[in-house]
């Protein structure tokens, strides 16, 4: 049986990774994710985990070391945030192209500049198109669960792709929660040993990460796109098995009080927890509003979004990142794409807020919801709007 205990979520992320018995951990500490590699280093040095802990000199090396080890057939884990992720950027696409199932805990933090160590989603959005599977946790329990699920999904013979588990910096990484930790035997039963599709071994020589000339690059890229789109099946299968084993249900788009809802708010990450309280307050006033929480960012769950939005009059999509000079927030952009072909679709309002650690309170969700309903004529043609920014 597992154990229920209170712990800082970053430490819990390290504990969850350790339960998966990685062979190699390579990470470089960076705020707000420092406690993940730090705690893993302790776990290894105390002899509780038989893993090679590589103290690399940078994030570029951290991901490179993970890929080398993964290529040799090891189960690997890394963790980073913000500028650290950008330092990995050169390697990100190579990891997915080489189909190496690296698992990363990504403590989401705003990108510089101005220099900021606090939470938003600009880091992962900058690496959105690198071919990694992306999961978003909204609380500590999901962080533990998703990290364990991530190894199963990434290493599945039908997937073989790297995966990042996103946990909001500080809002999650530095918060102490009471969580259920599965036992080692439960994790062992859920997560079989990694069977690499090929490995660097002198007895079976092969080359990985070779040159791809124009004659092959397009075919290789299409194969990679099909792989991530198809990973959805495995993600759903693993989530169904997780529910069976641990009783906690995971869906690409989680619904909260959507029964009879005519309007809804959509969130991704930890803000969904605060938004639930706002939904409770609005429901108490008799307003039929619900909450949709996006858990799967890549591959984007188009069909689930369409299903969830069916029958809604309006949908308020909240983004913690901006695509400069583009369509506003990245989540709203995908949601609009999902619904473009639908005849019966809700009006979509997109607010960008909570950037660089700006606090988001329950009242803010209520205010944003009321602002959307008031249908501010002056801005009605706007694709999106910043909420809570000083100055008109």
């Amino acid at each position: 049986m597992g154990e229920r205990k209170g712990m800082e979520i970053a430490l819990a992320a390290a504990e969850a990774a350790a339960l998966c018995r990685p062979d190699v951990v390579a990470a470089y500490p960076i705020t707000p994710n420092t406690h993940v590699p730090e705690h893993l280093a302790n776990i290894v040095s105390e002899g509780k985990l038989d893993a090679e802990y590589i103290c690399v000199e940078s994030e570029h090396s951290a991901l490179s070391a993970c890929m080398g080890a993964s290529g040799a057939g090891a189960r690997v884990f890394t963790a980073t945030s913000s500028q650290g992720l950008l330092y990995m950027a050169e390697i990100m696409s190579i990891a997915s192209s080489m189909r190496l199932p690296v698992v990363m805990a990504l403590g989401n933090r705003a990108l510089s500049g101005p220099l900021n160590i606090w939470n938003d989603h600009s880091d992962i959005m900058s690496q959105r198109d690198t071919g990694w599977i992306s999961l978003f946790a909204s609380h500590g329990q999901e962080v533990i669960d998703m990290i364990i699920q991530a190894f199963r999904i990434a290493e599945d013979a039908d997937v073989l792709l790297p995966i990042n588990v996103n946990l909001d910096g500080f809002q999650l990484t530095h918060v102490v929660e009471v969580m259920d930790f599965p036992s080692q035997s439960e994790v062992d039963a859920f997560l079989p040993a990694y069977k690499p599709f090929a490995s660097l071994h002198p007895d079976h020589p092969c080359s990985m990460g070779t040159l791809g000339l124009p004659e092959i690059y397009s075919e290789a890229t299409k194969a990679r796109e099909v792989a991530i789109v198809n990973s959805r099946k495995t993600i759903l299968k693993v989530w169904a098995e997780w529910e069976k084993a641990f009783g906690r249900r995971y869906e690409p788009v989680e619904s909260y009080k959507m029964e009879g809802a005519q309007e809804a708010i959509m969130t991704m990450g930890s803000m969904g927890e605060t938004a639930e309280i706002a939904i409770d307050a609005l429901r108490e006033k008799g307003i039929p509003v619900g909450l949709l929480k996006l858990k799967l960012w890549r591959p984007f769950p188009y069909e689930d979004v369409r299903k969830a939005a069916k029958g809604l009059k309006s949908l308020l999509v909240l983004d913690r990142a901006v695509s400069f000079g583009g369509p506003g927030g990245p989540v709203a952009s995908e949601v609009r794409s999902s619904l473009y072909g639908e005849t019966d679709r809700p009006a979509i309002t997109n607010y960008i807020f909570g950037l660089g650690g700006r606090d988001v309170a329950v009242e803010d969700f209520i205010k944003m919801f009321e602002k959307m309903r008031s249908g501010d004529k002056k801005r009605s043609k706007d694709q999106y709007e910043f909420y809570g920014v000083r100055g008109e």
């Binding site: 192209s97 080489m98 090929a198 079976h204 080359s207 990985m208 092959i216 075919e219 194969a223 099909v226």
Partner: protein
């Protein structure tokens, strides 16, 4: 390039584009990239082997008679051998 076979369709691409037949890079003749070829005047050549050492492709071989020769299947025509040849025995000449 004569025997090089690309995977026909995207479905045929190996997972992660791995190459499982060792030494298959040999089948790709980079000599096709060449615009200039090295020509060695063996009257001037002192058999020092500097061209052999500096060739980034490793395509220069030492013949039995001690002179050096570039394998034109792989020589990209970079001209480093000609640049490094201090007795000025190697000249780059236009292809075609």
């Amino acid at each position: 390039m004569k025997s090089k076979k690309w995977p026909e369709d995207w479905q045929d691409v190996n997972i992660g584009c791995i190459v499982s037949n060792p030494g298959s890079a040999r089948e790709y003749h980079t000599g096709g990239w060449r615009a200039q070829r090295p020509i060695c005047d063996n009257e001037k050549c002192i058999k020092c082997g500097v061209c052999y050492i500096f060739c980034p492709e490793g395509c220069i071989i030492e013949r039995k008679d001690g002179f050096f020769e570039a394998n034109l299947d792989y020589c990209k025509g970079c001209g480093i051998c000609a640049h490094e040849c201090w007795p000025f025995a190697i000249k780059m000449v236009e292809e075609g």
